[in-house]
Structures are given as structure tokens and as C-alpha cells.
Symmetry: C2
Subunit: 186 residues, 2 copies
């Protein structure tokens, strides 16, 4: 999660280099940055952050962040989905990159729309076939936590906290659902 989440002000066309104007293209309903020469339209759309709750024998994999925002806080392995991958592949890739762990993805579990930062956070349920993990370059530490030991006051993001709470509730109930919520500005 190291990309700037804010919408960009685009001054130049990334294709031809001419100046860009901010106007509503014909047939569109919103203003876009449009090239004054070649007409290229710069759409900006929300980004998907994909991650997972990876479990090994009842313990949950968390990473302590080595990057801003929220340096030093704990998070589920998660990051921006890349072109050319599926949501589940993105969640597994982030788990390898941030936690050095190979996760088997089970099912989509929770989705949070965070409209004011143009993000959608999507978390999967998964499990580690083996308790092998290691901090990647974006993590200070990686640990498997018993539910009772989760550092609730040191979690990095609201979506992570909500997802973990829901996960433990569902686990207790014996049935995992799919959950979604909207996270407005605090």
C-alpha cells in the first residue's frame, strides 16, 4: 500500500506531451483531464487493495509495517492489485512479498469501500500449508498471532481491524460469510 491514493491533477498528456484541459468530454457526465492536441482522456478510477487473512493452526499472519503510512503498526498482508492478475492472485502475491509466506486462498471474505481515498479493500480467507514466513522489505516483522494476542490497538488500518473482527466472529459461529461495508472519513 505504498501508492499515493489521491487523484492527480494532470497538466500534460502522457501520450503526446501537449497540455491537458479539465473538462467534461461529450457524452460523459464527469470532468476529466483531456489532451488539447490528441484528445486522449485521462480516466482516474478507484484502486483495489487486495489482501488476506492467512491462518495456520488457528493463528493469524500479521505484518508490522516498515513503510509509511502507519510505519510500525500491524496489518494483514495486502497491497494494490496489479494489471494482469486476478484478485486472488494479487492477495497471494502480497502475502509472499510482505510476509514471505505461501498462502492457499480459500474464498473472498470482506470488501470495504473507502470512497474518500478512492480505494476498495478486498480481503480473502486463506491458510498456510506450512508455518514458514519472513519479513519482506515492506515489513519490520511477521508473526502468527493467536486470536487472543492480536495487537488490536496497534493495527494499521480500519479495514484490517474490521476484517479481523468479522473473521473471528464468523469462525466462532462456524460459518464464514462475505461481508461488506463503507468506511467514511473519521
Amino acid at each position: 500500500m505504498s501508492q499515493n491514493p489521491d487523484a492527480l491533477t494532470i497538466s500534460f498528456c502522457p501520450i503526446c506531451g501537449a497540455s491537458a484541459d479539465f473538462l467534461t468530454p461529450e457524452g460523459d457526465s464527469l470532468p476529466r483531464h483531456v489532451c488539447s492536441r490528441c484528445g486522449h482522456i485521462n480516466y482516474q478510477n478507484p484502486r483495489l487493495v487486495v489482501g488476506c487473512v492467512a491462518e495456520y493452526e488457528g493463528r493469524i499472519l500479521l505484518c508490522r509495517r516498515a513503510i509509511e503510512p502507519r510505519y510500525g503498526f500491524w496489518t494483514l498482508p495486502a497491497g494494490f492489485m496489479e494489471n494482469g492478475e486476478t484478485t486472488a492472485q494479487g492477495a497471494a502475491r502480497e502475502t509472499i512479498e510482505e510476509a514471505g509466506a505461501i498462502v492457499e486462498i480459500d474464498a473472498a471474505f470482506a470488501m470495504y469501500s473507502i470512497a474518500h481515498i478512492h480505494q476498495v479493500h478486498l480481503f480473502y480467507r486463506g491458510h498456510l500449508p506450512k508455518p514458514i514466513y519472513a519479513a519482506g522489505i515492506e515489513s519490520l516483522a511477521v508473526e502468527l498471532f493467536e486470536p487472543a494476542d492480536i495487537p488490536w490497538n496497534e493495527l494499521a488500518f480500519r479495514s484490517v481491524k474490521l476484517c479481523l473482527e468479522r473473521y473471528l466472529e464468523d469462525k466462532k459461529s462456524g460459518h464464514f460469510g462475505f461481508h461488506e461495508a463503507e468506511l467514511p472519513p473519521i
Copy 2:
């Protein structure tokens, strides 16, 4: 769904107008278009298409496309999610824009990753409080279809067909789940 789904080749920095290089930034794992002067990194990420299966007294709302791709084919109301909205708000907005219908969104229903075109299609279940609808500028026609009358051979997209099939299966079974799949190139 009128945006170009392909990844762009960026030649100029959209912020300062200098030339952009294609290289892997320090600490990153993938090449990006990076400005040779100001260092701005142009991330390109998958886009979310949000839509819904909107029902009125057992009939389902479909739109006949007035735009490419798939001009003249039938689709669920759906389109690219915009910055500043939630996934559900995006689905409801597209239903107003394409089908002139106010839909009440019930729950997330199906999600399809289409990695080769960098898209994720997310469909909600919803219902129309009133049978009021009208073709928007991107639609040739809008109709409520009985399940038996759905034009299966004239549907615009695989994700729409799969979603409708799942929807009718779930409706028959009396329980709506959340479904996901990966749609590889045909």
C-alpha cells in the same frame, strides 16, 4: 464500459511534461513509467466495473447497448467505478445512467477477475421499488425480462451471462451466495 481497458504506454510525465522512462523503481518489483525529471511514478492498476441484477416482481432489468464494444447486445447495467463513490453507489449510478431506473441495492453477488484486460467486474443484487425505466444515452432499449425470456445468445459479456446464470440458480435454490470466478482469454 466505454473506457479503453488496455494498459497505456506513457511517453510524457502528466505532471511536469518531461519524458517518461519505463523502469523498475527502487524498492518496487515491476517496471513503471517514471518521469525522467520529477520522478513521478505512473502506476496503472486494474479497474472495477460495477453493476447490478435489478429485479422487479421476478423480472430482470437488461439494457441493449448503444455503444461499442458489443453494440446491440444486451447487458446488465454496469460501468467503470468512479473516484469518490462506493462500489454499491457506483452500481446504482450506472443503473440510473444506463437504464433510467432507481435501484435499491441489496448485497454483493458476484465478482469476476478478467486479468488479461485488467478488470474486475462486481455485480450486486438489487430491486426496483417501481417498474420505471428508460434507455439512457448508452442504451438502445431497456426492458424487464422474465427469466425464461432472457436473450442468452445476445448477451454482451461473459461476466453478465455467468452472473445471470448464477442468479437464477441461487434464486431457485432459495439462497443467494457470493460467487467469484476468473475469466481467462477465450
